[in-house]
């Protein structure tokens, strides 16, 4: 497997400009001759599909939801970063770049991150022009707030529904292109495999979720914007149907999978309340602007929060990290919460929770101001927990939220399969080992609006594509494989439901590859996973047939892929003998319990190459060089 990141030469601030000039163009009349498949309609997918259609390409866009407007980007609450420096507080493109590389614990590619920071300012302009109702000051100008890992206010927001509003902006741009006939939309259609011809990505096999029909679609390039794999944990803040099938199938067809062990545990989620729980709900990181996190100083202090006086409270983030306080990055905040709970000082019935307290903020600015800023989040908290956060502190606990790992891509966002581009959370590119808050929306839109429309043209201009059609034997063969797999799932008729096996898998991944990992646990997990796989393929039950609307069948296919992906996560976590960002190995920590990197041995992206069923995949390396950001132990003290 060749890993050429294709990073342009020259000083970092000139690389993207230079590259844009060096790339070949496709003239407007010729763009009409190219067909592109976009899978996924979230921020990355919808913005890419719309932008490429605007340029003239013929786009087919697929999503499993009943409408592209429902992709899970919609659930992002807090905001989107951009280096506008509207607040005059010392922000700059360079600072956003620096914060992101540092926040990612020095495991991201500098050139990509710099480009992301550059483009961030265009995203805000574009979205505003589309009518995204960002929060504004009384002057009519845009408002900002702060997020974790930054000391400037650079986060733009639309109440607690920023993801929704940005997605609706991209969805509307997409709707316009559908209306103009440049995008053909396929809702309720799930990609089940990738088709290569002559070594290049040329199409997909998809299942119509309403009729069950398996169909082939051909194109000149395929773009995956299918999100992350957080649901490998079963319980996560992802939507119930978010899945890794598209990227996993592409991986099995030859796309390198980078850093699968980099997963993000978000510190502020509503704690688990029972075994029946189907998903976890996030409380926006923006709450940490005004909320103070604490636990009792004494172990086993069961007094209600309001009866615990100030002197018996431990505001542990403010104590340990005085300069960033409650706004330390997510990985740091999550681990700190785990530590105090492991220490027996957790709150709530399960002891797995910490307080997020707005008492002092309400005293300082009044309940009205807090309501205006966070009202919808407070309402949501109350609906779920039946507790009033204006009167008593919220209880929160970390939960799986985002996956930094994903398919490896070069600077052009192309995977190791020519013609297969991967954008948004589905790729591994910009966040290193930990993503900063409000950066996922930024990356998804940067990739879709401003990177892929350029780089895909360069690919077409430099590539000779074989003339082919759906009768090509490769289409026939992959289609047959997809049908065979569905038939196999339907013919097992065992005793276990898909969900029960998914839960079992999720618990294993959370216990052994969650907030803290250890070689012993990972080895144990690697022994356990073949047993769960075997249980699945021999004892799962999927009722009904393949020729109908069948939600159990949809789930079964996704869980089968999660089982394989989990194994790769364990391997990757085991091989990475250091702690960095979201990957915390207990064996590698500083005396104060902070993550200890090993830059000499692990300053690289680990890229896994699939070798076939039952074969150990090969681990390749893309060495990361840091010319601009000085490697250091991250400090937020």
């Amino acid at each position: 497997m060749q890993l050429d990141a294709k990073i342009p030469s020259g000083p970092i601030e000139k690389k993207w400009d230079k590259h844009r000039f060096d790339m070949k163009l496709v003239n407007p009349a010729n763009k009409r001759k190219y067909n592109v498949i976009v899978v996924g309609s979230g921020l990355a997918g919808a913005s890419a599909a719309a932008s490429m259609a605007e340029l003239g390409y013929n786009v087919k866009c697929f999503c499993y939801q009943d409408s592209p407007r429902r992709a899970h980007s919609i659930a992002a609450q807090g905001g989107i970063n951009a280096a506008k420096n509207y607040q005059n507080d010392g922000d700059s493109i360079y600072r956003l770049f620096y914060d992101t590389v540092k926040g990612g614990d020095f495991r991201a590619r500098e050139a990509n991150v710099y480009r992301l920071a550059q483009i961030s300012v265009n995203i805000i302009d574009q979205c505003t022009a589309q009518g995204v109702p960002f929060a504004r000051e009384y002057s009519g100008l845009l408002a900002n707030r702060s997020f974790g890992g930054a000391q400037v206010s650079r986060t733009f927001y639309a109440r607690g529904q920023t993801g929704q509003q940005l997605l609706l902006g991209a969805y509307q741009a997409l709707a316009r292109q559908i209306h103009l006939g440049k995008v053909q939309m396929f809702p309720r259609t799930e990609m089940l495999d990738l088709v290569l011809i002559d070594g290049k990505a040329r199409g997909i096999i998809a299942r119509n979720l309403v009729t069950g029909k398996i169909e082939s679609f051909i194109a000149d390039a395929v773009v995956l914007g299918t999100g992350g794999y957080g649901n490998v944990f079963y319980l996560s803040t992802n939507a119930k149907n978010s899945n890794a099938t598209a990227i996993w199938r592409a991986h099995k067809r030859g796309a390198g999978f980078a850093n699968p062990c980099y997963t993000q545990i978000h510190p502020t989620c509503i704690p688990v309340s029972g075994d029946y729980q189907s998903k976890l709900t996030l409380m926006s990181e923006s709450l940490r602007n005004d909320g103070r996190i604490w636990v009792p100083k004494q172990k086993g202090d069961r007094r209600p929060a309001q009866d615990i006086p100030e002197e018996d409270r431990d505001y542990y983030l403010e104590r340990k990290y005085p300069s960033f306080g409650n706004l330390v990055p997510r990985d740091v905040a999550s681990r700190a919460a785990k530590d105090v709970c492991d220490d027996g000082r957790g709150v709530g019935e399960t002891g797995l929770g910490v307080y997020l307290d707005f008492g002092s903020a309400i005293k300082r600015v009044g309940e009205e101001v807090i309501r205006e800023k966070y009202g919808n989040l407070f309402d949501m908290y109350q609906r779920i927990t039946d507790e009033n956060p204006y009167k008593q502190p919220m209880r929160i606990y970390p939960a799986v939220h985002y996956t930094m790992g994903g398919l490896w891509v070069d600077y052009n966002l192309m995977s190791t399969i020519p013609g297969l581009f991967v954008i948004g959370e589905a790729n591994f590119s910009d966040h290193g080992a930990n993503r900063l808050g409000a950066s996922a929306l930024m990356q998804g839109l940067a990739d879709g609006y401003f990177v892929i429309p350029y780089t895909i043209g360069n690919y077409f201009a430099n590539t000779t594509l074989e003339k082919t059609d759906l009768n090509n034997p490769n289409f026939r063969q992959v289609e047959a494989e997809v049908s065979a797999r569905i038939n196999r799932l339907l013919s097992i008729r065992g005793k276990r439901t898909v969900d029960s096996i998914h839960r079992e898998l999720g618990k294993l991944v959370w216990d052994k590859c969650g907030m803290a990992r250890h070689a012993d646990g990972l080895r144990e997990a690697l022994e356990k996973i073949p047993q769960i796989k075997e249980e699945f393929w021999n004892n799962v039950t999927v009722l009904g047939s393949g020729e109908e609307f069948n939600q159990s069948l949809e789930k079964a296919g996704r869980v089968a892929d999660f089982l394989e992906l989990a194994e790769l996560m364990f391997m990757d976590a085991l091989e990475r003998e250091e702690s960095c960002g979201g990957h915390f190995r207990k064996e590698y920590q500083t005396p104060e319990g902070e993550a200890m990197r090993n830059d000499e041995k692990f300053s690289h992206a680990a890229v896994w190459e699939y070798q076939g069923e039952g074969q150990k995949p090969i681990r390749h390396k893309e060495e990361l060089t840091f010319e601009y950001v000085h490697l250091a132990q991250r400090s937020y003290k």
């Binding site: 409408s67 574009q126 022009a129 109702p133 639309a158 189907s278 609307f549």
Partner: protein, 257 residues
């Protein structure tokens, strides 16, 4: 708690459906409504029976996928709450609950509780956007928007497109949904150039998709999980009248250099 459920079961669009009784036992009041259905489905699968199909995804009240008629009320008894955010503590032990899909001519049933809301997408495609291609934008702060306008636009933009408004309207009208988008864009300076065409085209599509018209029942507002105000419907009607009277088709002469 123990409950009796009557759930609409329908194999597909071609067959007719019926209400089927299920007993829900040992339900925790802290479960969400959909988690309660998950439990029922696990039981059905164990017995070899086809589980109940229902749309759902984010389960945090924002994607708009879920939507059930619960005892005749869209999204159930709790105000400003989607089905996925409704918790069983809103019911009492021993209650009987009737669960049906959205019922509207424009939303044909796919299976059980799942309906096709594609008509909503087609309304948006008819003009629910600002035609600004990527790269066209000026600096975001070059065009100040009064805070009151931005806030009001946001109130309208909060719509999640779940379809509860249509399902609860005796006329099956989509006017709350359509007016929310028209108002969101029409309240902003960016939305002015296409304001007339937008309202004319979106309303025409709404009619074509067989949604009914508004006769001021205000059921839509009462069930809307995002509390979208019916004032937006009045605003749309004003825009529509104004556009009907004053809209001029752009003259389309070709040429140039």
């Amino acid at each position: 708690m123990n409950l009796v459920l009557y759930v609409w079961r329908q194999k597909n669009a071609q067959t007719s459906g019926q209400m089927v009784r299920y007993d829900a036992k040992n339900i925790s009041p802290d479960m969400s409504f959909l988690e309660m259905l998950d439990v029922i489905n696990e039981g059905l699968i164990a017995k070899g029976e086809d589980p109940i199909a229902f749309d759902h995804d984010c389960r945090e009240g924002i994607c708009g996928s879920c939507g059930l008629m619960i005892n005749g009320q869209a999204h159930g008894p709790k105000k400003a709450t989607t089905t996925c955010q409704l918790h069983m503590r809103s019911f009492k032990d021993g209650d009987t609950i009737y669960i049906e899909p959205w019922r509207a001519k424009a939303f044909p049933i796919i299976k059980d509780l799942v309906v096709d809301r594609g008509a909503f997408d087609r309304i948006i495609q008819a003009g629910g956007y600002i035609s600004v291609s990527t790269g066209n934008a000026q600096d975001a702060n070059a065009l100040p928007v009064p805070k009151s306008a931005a806030d009001q636009a946001m109130d309208a933009a909060a719509c999640i497109g779940c379809g509860a408004c249509v399902a609860s309207c005796p006329n099956g009208s989509a006017m709350l949904f359509t007016s929310a988008k028209i108002s969101h864009l029409g309240l902003l300076p960016q939305g002015q150039p296409e304001r007339k065409e937008r309202v004319l085209n979106m309303v025409a599509t709404m009619d074509k998709e067989q949604f009914g018209s508004c006769t001021n029942h205000r059921e839509c507002e009462a069930v809307c999980p995002k509390e979208i105000n019916v004032d937006f419907i009045a605003r749309m009607n004003r825009d529509y009248l104004w556009a009907t009277l004053t809209y001029q088709k752009p003259s389309s002469k070709g040429g140039g250099e």
